[in-house]
């Protein structure tokens, strides 16, 4: 009886620890920053970036992509690509807005695929004209080889989908003649 109680105590403790051990962490801007492989056509003015539609991560929930982190990744990616002359905090010639319209995450699984959709709009702040608008879809699958803990795998899938999305946005904007 005493041995059975010990086993039960140990099993329930392990179950509790297993469930609580993996606290969710948010997607980071560094991991979402796209590294442009090719040089892009430079738009000779500055740009400001604003993002909405993201979500904060709660430690007991799933990893999420926040507005701040995605906006920072977008800024850093634009700077790395050299697409605009400069990324300004505000008052720039162009304003790029991104609305995170969809982050489709699996609840369970070994290979975790996150599907993401962001609506981008580029506006000329001097004339108020919308120069470019595009809805970009991306996805990334994080496999068990990348991370054993599911909470980390989901974060990696989020970051991969966001990175791919930003990469596509920069490639699309690079074709603009402004």
């Amino acid at each position: 009886m005493r041995t059975a109680n010990r086993c039960l105590a140990l099993a329930s403790l392990i179950a509790g620890v297993t469930l609580t051990a993996g606290c969710a962490t948010p997607a980071t801007s560094v991991a979402m920053t796209a590294t442009s492989a090719t040089a892009v056509h430079q738009i000779g003015s500055d740009v400001s970036v604003a993002v909405s539609g993201g979500k904060e991560t709660s430690s007991t929930g799933a990893s999420q992509i926040s507005d701040q982190a995605f906006a920072q990744a977008l800024r850093d990616s634009i700077e790395k690509s050299g697409l605009f002359a400069k990324v300004s905090p505000s008052g720039a010639r162009y304003k790029l807005t991104g609305f995170i319209g969809k982050v489709d995450q699996p609840l369970l699984g070994f290979s975790l695929t996150v599907k993401m959709e962001v609506s981008y709009t580029l506006v000329d702040t001097q004339s108020g004209t919308t120069l470019w608008t595009k809805d970009i879809a991306s996805q990334y699958t994080a496999k068990t080889g990348e991370a054993f803990a599911a909470v980390k795998r989901l974060r990696l899938a989020n970051e991969g989908a966001a990175r791919e999305n930003i990469q596509q946005a920069i490639a699309a904007m690079a074709t603009l003649t402004l």
Binding site: N5, R6, L8, A9, L10, A11, S12, L13, I14, A15, G16, V17, L19, T20, A50, S52, G53, T60, G61, T97, F99, G101, K102, D104, L107, E117, S119, T121, T133, D135
Partner: protein, 139 residues
């Protein structure tokens, strides 16, 4: 020993009885009041007819709506609706999460999105999940 047993048993219960959440976000400058006609695109993986529930709820809310398998409607509409439903098993299958996106009928760009998550203890019927999600989007 008894204390360890109690703590160990309590932790999973605390973790599995999460609260229900709902939220919605609109794209900057999105004006949903202009939308009068909708087309709901059936999710290819959905075999439960959630697209019909969404279309029926939109009709009940006073909009003109239709649903189907095609990604684009046969006739022009103001808004296209897409969704993702997630199901779990706890004695019976139940919808744990529903995401709905309202898109521009012409460009397909997402204008607004809403999501409802209801764990087992706060579960609702699929009709209830659809009603709650559309409710937060059009609030």
């Amino acid at each position: 020993m008894k204390r360890v047993l109690r703590i160990g048993m309590l932790l999973p219960i605390v973790m599995l009885s999460a609260c229900a959440t709902n939220n919605a976000t609109r794209a900057p400058d999105a004006n949903l009041s202009k939308l009068k006609t909708f087309y709901v695109v059936r999710l290819p993986e959905d075999g439960r007819g959630i697209e019909k529930l969404i279309a029926a709820r939109l009709t009940a809310l006073g909009y003109q709506s239709a649903s189907g398998d095609a990604t684009k409607p046969a006739a022009p509409v103001d808004g296209i609706v897409t969704y993702q439903d997630r199901w779990m098993w706890d004695l019976t299958m139940y919808m744990i999460k529903l995401d709905i996106q309202i898109r521009d009928g012409t460009s397909g760009a997402i204008l607004a999105k809403g999501e409802v998550m209801r764990p087992s203890l706060q579960r609702k019927s699929p009709e209830g999940m659809v009603e709650e999600t559309l409710g937060v989007i059009f609030k």
